[in-house]
């Protein structure tokens, strides 16, 4: 391709002007750094913020003027208010109000670092929302948590991942993790109609208490295996595979129930185990999205699974006696209900399959 020198220089010139214009408000280092330190139970730390962000938020016209220590000292009150309002740090679900100490220039990062301390003593859980300067969409806040000088937690807050938390390894904090993740597990079952329909599908044919226990145990065992493997990143199938397979499992259990009505066969325990492996990957994806505390991974994983089991138990306790009562009261109606429900399950599964493919 040949382009005349005149045209090329025009493009270059126009582009240069646009670059300068863009640079006037663009920010090439959209980063801030928050160190949270717990030393002998005392919570303190440091916030390092870029001069462009500080100047923007404190309405200062020349960011580089902040490298003049005397200038910064004169505006320290305004700058500390900026940091105070942007640092959304919580300890045990209470907002931490930092008391600022020394500040210093960090020239290579074009930043100012502010030391702070607090009245908080021996917190069980720390939370930080961010990023620090959300006015700038690409902004990222690097978060490091130190306990007695040891780096124990690293995170990066951006517009997608807006919350970091760290559980200090005490008994009280573990109890909090257990409570949180049990509720999350139950919540996921109750808001997930796909899992509910699959479990209902497994129960439709009824059976003795032992048989139902065997089916539910097979499902539990299978999804526990894959939940653990996926959470520990041993096996990590992509959602585009897992989600359609979950939909397929719902269709399958519906069809299987209809076929079982005509033939004397009951393969539900095997189906529950096979597709339970797939559902476990689905649970793992939810658990990952929720964010796992590195220091209490085992507790979080176990509690989430416990919550899932509790949710399932609720479904079993609600659906199984109702189906049993119907079947005993009027076998013909019971059969019709099973047929109709299977149809609904197949239709819902087919809808999700198309949606997820």
């Amino acid at each position: 391709m040949r382009v005349s020198p005149r045209l090329a220089s025009l493009i270059a010139g126009a582009a240069s002007v646009m670059v300068v214009a863009a640079a006037a408000h663009a920010h090439s280092q959209p980063y801030s750094f928050v160190d949270v330190e717990l030393d002998q139970g005392v919570l303190h730390g440091r916030v390092t913020a870029h001069v462009v962000d500080l100047a923007h938020e404190a309405a200062l016209p020349v960011p580089d003027s902040l490298f003049d220590a005397a200038f910064t000292a004169r505006r320290l009150g305004a700058l500390e208010r900026v940091i105070d309002s942007h640092l959304k740090l919580g300890a045990d679900h209470r907002r931490v109000r930092p008391r600022f100490g020394a500040f210093r220039s960090v020239r290579d990062k074009r930043s100012i670092a502010f030391d702070w301390t607090s009245d908080v003593h021996a917190p069980a859980e720390l939370e930080l929302d961010g990023p620090l300067f959300p006015y700038d969409p690409p902004h990222e806040t690097y978060v490091n948590v130190y306990v007695d000088g040891k780096l124990v937690h690293e995170d990066l807050l951006d517009r997608e991942h807006t919350s970091a938390s760290y559980v200090v390894g005490t008994r009280q904090s573990i109890a909090r993790v257990v409570g949180t993740f049990v509720l999350q597990g139950m919540h996921h079952i109750f808001i997930g109609p796909d899992h509910i329909l699959f479990v209902v599908g497994l129960l439709l044919l009824g059976g003795s208490l032992f048989r139902l226990l065997k089916i539910v145990t097979a499902f539990t065992l299978a999804h526990t295996i894959t939940l653990v493997l996926a959470t520990l990143r041993v096996v990590n199938p992509p959602p585009r595979v897992v989600e359609p397979l979950i939909a397929l499992s719902i269709i399958y259990i519906g069809v299987e129930t209809l076929l079982a009505l005509r033939r004397e066969r009951d393969a539900r325990a095997r189906i529950a185990f096979g597709f339970g492996l797939v559902h476990g990957f689905g649970f793992a994806s939810v658990l990952r999205d929720f964010g796992l505390p590195n220091t209490a991974l085992g507790w979080a994983l176990g509690s989430f699974n416990l919550g899932v089991e509790a949710g399932q138990a609720c479904i079993v306790l609600a659906a199984a006696p109702l189906l049993m009562w119907l079947r005993r009261h009027d076998p013909a109606i019971g059969r019709r209900v099973v047929t109709a429900t299977s149809g609904v399950i197949i239709a819902a599964g087919a809808y999700w399959l198309v949606q997820r493919l």
Binding site: S9, I11, M18, P137, Y142, L151, E154, L156, P239, R240
Partner: protein, 279 residues
């Protein structure tokens, strides 16, 4: 033509100021030559025209961060979140060191027009054609991108750079890239040859010795060579001159997780340095 290249470089910078995904990402070692016992520091830069800003290391983004010398070593445990230095390594022989990094996905969204312009500038013809077919239905560009840069600190054992590490998208030279002459390379996507992809080469002078000029203090330059990979994922680039080189390639395909993005892109780069040819 000489003026067109910087114009395109500048235009790319203007069209994608908010789109970090449209910027090159490369690893810069403190020196492109190292002897046993030297301490190498690897930093990362993000920018356009082989000029960029330091990107601090993010522990939660690093999927792979290794150095291949006498053995493959995981650098993640020694790297600190937020540090400007991605990693440090002391070679235990003179065979050379290959640094390789892979990030996880970072989501980004661009208005439709900007996204289409970015696809055109990056030579991403496949996604561009797909979006053109959809017309207005294509909507805004919902993308997630990941980085796959490598840097070669040359030494006596070229196998350390000619063998793939296993990054999702990887530029694998057939010979030691630090030696003069045309460079043949393979582009691998998930370990398989990737045909029809644009590979570009950028060049900058070195500072003193084998140390690169600070990526943030240099001028932007345009690519000096480019080639598309053939059916076997192979491309040959003629690289004129000495100094610091960056090869780069980008591959985009429909996202495997359509809930979070419509497209996913992979950005590979390989940096190395070449000596002045002896007369």
């Amino acid at each position: 033509m000489k003026l067109l290249v910087p114009a395109v470089v500048l235009a790319l910078g203007v069209l994608t100021p908010a789109c970090a995904g449209a910027h090159e990402f490369w690893l810069a070692p403190s020196s492109y030559r190292a002897a046993r016992g030297d301490t190498l520091r690897a930093t990362a830069f993000v920018g356009t025209g082989f000029r960029g800003e330091l990107k601090p290391y993010a522990a939660t983004r690093a999927v792979t961060w290794v150095a291949r010398g006498t053995r493959l070593v995981d650098l993640k445990p020694g790297s600190v979140n937020g540090d400007d230095v991605f990693g440090r390594w002391v070679p235990d022989d003179d065979g050379g060191v290959l640094f390789a990094y892979e990030s996880n996905f970072v989501p980004i969204e661009l208005p439709a027009e900007e996204f289409d312009a970015y696809l055109e500038l990056e030579g991403l013809d496949g996604p561009r054609a797909e979006r053109a077919k959809l017309g207005a239905l294509a909507g805004d560009g919902r993308e997630r991108y990941e980085r796959c840069p490598k840097a070669w600190v040359a030494g006596r054992d070229p196998k350390r750079v000619t063998a793939a590490v296993g990054l999702s998208l990887e530029l694998v030279p057939a010979t030691d890239p630090s030696l003069p002459g045309p460079l043949k390379l393979r582009l691998l996507f998930r370990g398989e040859p990737l045909p029809g992809t644009l590979v570009r080469a950028w060049n900058h002078k070195l500072a003193s010795g084998w140390s690169p000029v600070d990526g943030a203090s240099r001028d932007s330059v345009g690519p000096v060579a480019h080639a598309r990979t053939d059916a076997h994922g192979v491309a040959t680039l003629v690289l004129p001159g000495s100094g610091e080189w960056m090869l780069s390639a980008v591959h985009m395909e429909p996202s495997r997780d359509p809930r979070h993005a419509d497209w996913e892109s992979y950005w590979a780069s390989l940096t190395f340095a070449r000596a002045e040819r002896k007369r």
